[in-house]
């Protein structure tokens, strides 16, 4: 494999769901790349399509009822062309996923040890005894005390943070090349969140695993990821190095998101929220889906859908936005406060 082939590449990936009220496009032409050892943060609000994008990658959105368009390339191979056997090898062995809620992703009837060794035996071809050893080693690595004894415990005997540690141990047990973490800390308290993020980061760096971190928390991405992808209404609207996206965001939605978060080190009197509400995916506005909430919107934004385009970033790093306007030279046309009115 040549060095410049990314581990994972999404090429205009779209995912529709059929509903009684007509098709809903949850993911709409997403382009994304993840290279070996790289960490990419995918941020967006609920319904922006960030989870469905990654579930599509894992072939966890069955088709039908969903329909896919575009390609998902794993080291250049088209994931949608694979048979069930190849997909099984991909899931768990090559690419592992951690979900938000550790209670519902562990089977409450089975001991932790059985759940851990299942994939180890399958993927690494180890015997039962060796697999148990490997499982205990993984539990120890994620900071669970007395790992051999804890293999015989059930999920309810672990706290929320500990269950998420078990999930991480399970995901990393077969040395995957890519780890997809979908809101891994959203259900956890902040001090536990800090522990889990540090653990993911350390384990990933030690093994050289790539990471896709899906989250709605801008702070988590800022601390963890090399690159940041911002999604809105199923599309990628901004993408670049994390420091560029946070220090000089170029897409009005990203600017709005960053201004919406109260900062501890700055005493702001009033936040500047993004006006309005996220659009109904069945009734997306024409052109740019963000234009109805955008202070910079102009006539062109309604007429023409903005495609991702390159913009100038420091050090010639790649920075792309889906926006017609150059916010660095154009002042906003509308006062954000003036669109305080909400329309259902």
């Amino acid at each position: 494999m040549a060095d410049d082939t990314p581990l994972l590449r999404l090429d205009k990936l779209s995912t529709w769901f059929r509903t009684d009220r007509g098709p809903v496009k949850a993911v709409d032409g997403v382009d994304l790349e993840v290279r070996a050892g790289e960490s990419v943060g995918v941020v967006g609000e609920s319904g922006s399509g960030k989870s469905v994008t990654m579930l599509s990658v894992m072939r966890l959105v069955p088709s039908p009822p969903a329909q896919h368009q575009g390609r998902v390339l794993w080291k250049g191979e088209d994931v949608f062309g694979w048979n069930a056997r190849r997909v099984r090898k991909f899931r768990g062995r090559e690419c592992a996923m951690i979900f938000q809620d550790p209670m519902t992703s562990l089977n409450p009837y089975l001991k932790i040890g059985l759940q851990l060794t299942e994939s180890i035996e399958l993927h690494l071809g180890l015997g039962h005894h060796a697999a148990r050893g490997r499982a205990a080693e993984m539990l120890g690595r994620v900071g669970i005390a007395m790992p051999e004894q804890r293999l015989d415990d059930y999920p309810h005997q672990f706290s929320g943070g500990m269950r998420q540690r078990v999930m991480i141990a399970m995901a990393l047990s077969c040395d995957p090349q890519l780890l997809i973490a979908d809101e891994p800390t959203t259900a956890l308290d902040v001090t536990i969140q800090a522990q889990i993020l540090e653990l993911i980061d350390a384990q990933r760096k030690a093994a050289g695993t790539g990471l896709v971190l899906i989250t709605h928390s801008l702070g988590v991405v800022a601390g963890m990821c090399d690159r940041t992808v911002v999604m809105y209404a199923g599309r990628v609207v901004e993408e670049g190095r994390t420091e560029d996206v946070f220090a000089s965001p170029r897409m009005p939605y990203t600017i709005g998101l960053l201004k919406s978060v109260p900062r501890l080190d700055v005493r702001e009197t009033r936040l500047v929220p993004v006006p309005g509400t996220p659009p109904d995916p069945q009734r997306l506005p024409s052109g740019c889906p963000f234009r109805v909430r955008c202070p910079w919107a102009e006539d062109r934004c309604a007429a023409e859908r903005p495609e991702l385009r390159e913009v100038q970033a420091p050090g010639a790093a790649r920075h792309r936005i889906a926006c017609h306007v150059d916010v660095t030279t154009t002042p906003p046309r509308h006062d954000p406060a003036s669109f305080g009115k909400v329309n259902p």
Binding site: V190, D201, L218, G223, F246, V274, P275
Partner: protein, 354 residues
């Protein structure tokens, strides 16, 4: 500090105490066996004291299970009976009153819940939800008057008074539903609103809208907020003062700008450093707290934070020596032995062991 901030600070009248809570305790018994013998107590809230002034926002932060929600609900008499303590609201002890007197008092205290989906009755229209309190307390004499009052309230919270009034909760988005919850809470022009994780379930862009709405309403109507949330950045932003809770007790109370610039309790320091900053250059987790919050059924003796504390000494670990509470600056108090090292610290109380 901007002039707007100063105006906001002034809007809180620090000489006028609206609510004064002393040594509040709420324990839940655990019963077992044939005769439902009490075998243990969950000490959800275990000796909490604070004051809220007119027009002030007092924030309560802490991790899940620290008792912050129980504090809010106990004061509103939504969790009876209280185990011990007093809560004087405009001079009346809320735990002494019953029946008609309590109902009259409830007009002055309202609550906004976390979940805008389950806290609105799906079978009632917006008019019925927002106007229910007006009817119950006899504040409107006719249906027409009620409709007009509700329309005014909807306008205040940024909803459409004509189109939205006869709709049902399911027709609204999460942010709009929370606006309905706010309209219901302000309908009776209360003096105190308990905001129980009122913005926690919302997306960040919507969260900022609701925070601004709550701040604007406070400036306009002058009520006090007891703002309960686990997101320290949100609490710090909206509150004049913040109380940090840990395992049923207040660890530190401070003016919100002080909390960030000079946290005195080791737990507050750890909590602050655990919050991911949106600045990518900021160091990530310089101080990760180890372990988890202990079980409130069997809290650690002495200072409840000592098993996770970097500074813990022998005297922190014993029930024999009470934990001193120091005032280290005006309005800034800390329940920790480290408080005595701060110049000018005055001991104002103590927390006894479990």
């Amino acid at each position: 500090m901007s002039t707007q901030t100063e105006a906001r600070r002034k809007s809180a009248d620090m000489s006028n105490v609206v609510l004064s809570v002393r040594d509040l305790k709420k324990w839940y018994p655990i019963r077992k066996g044939l005769f439902s013998r009490v075998v243990a107590q969950v000490k959800a809230v275990d000796g909490v004291s604070f004051d809220i002034h007119a027009g002030e926002t007092l924030g309560f932060v802490g991790e899940s299970g620290c008792g912050k929600t129980t504090v809010g609900r106990t004061i509103l008499r939504l969790l009876d009976p209280v185990t011990a303590g007093s809560a004087h609201f405009q001079g009346t002890n809320l735990f002494d009153i019953q029946g008609e007197e309590l109902r009259a008092m409830r007009r002055k205290m309202q609550i906004i819940f976390q979940d805008p989906y389950s806290s609105l009755n799906p079978r009632m229209t917006v008019e019925a939800i927002v106007g229910e309190g007006l009817t119950v307390h006899g504040l409107v004499s006719s249906g027409k008057e009620r409709r007009e009052r509700v329309q005014e309230l909807l306008k205040k919270v940024g909803l459409d008074p004509v189109r939205h009034i006869s709709r049902y909760p399911h027709e609204f988005s999460g942010g709009q539903r929370q606006r309905i919850g706010v309209a219901r809470a302000i309908a009776l022009e209360p003096d105190l609103i308990v905001c129980d994780e009122a913005v926690s379930a919302l997306d960040v862009s919507i969260q900022a809208q609701i925070i601004n709405l709550l701040q604007g309403l406070q400036e306009e109507m002058g009520m006090s907020y007891l703002f309960i949330a686990h997101g320290l950045n949100v609490v710090e932003h909206i509150s004049h003062r913040v109380a940090v809770m840990y395992l049923g007790r207040i660890a530190e109370t401070a003016p919100s700008e002080k909390l960030y610039s000079g946290p005195a309790h080791p737990y507050t320091q750890a909590l602050l450093s655990a919050i991911p900053d949106t600045d990518p250059d900021a160091p990530m987790n310089p101080e990760v707290l180890e372990g988890e919050v202990p079980n409130p059924i069997n809290p650690p003796p002495g200072c409840r934070f000592h098993p996770r504390c970097r500074f813990a000494q022998d005297r922190c670990r014993s029930n024999d020596i009470p934990i001193p509470v120091y005032e280290i600056a005006p309005g800034h108090s800390v329940a920790c032995i480290l408080g005595e090292q701060v110049a000018g610290a005055v001991k104002i109380g103590e927390q006894t062991g479990a």
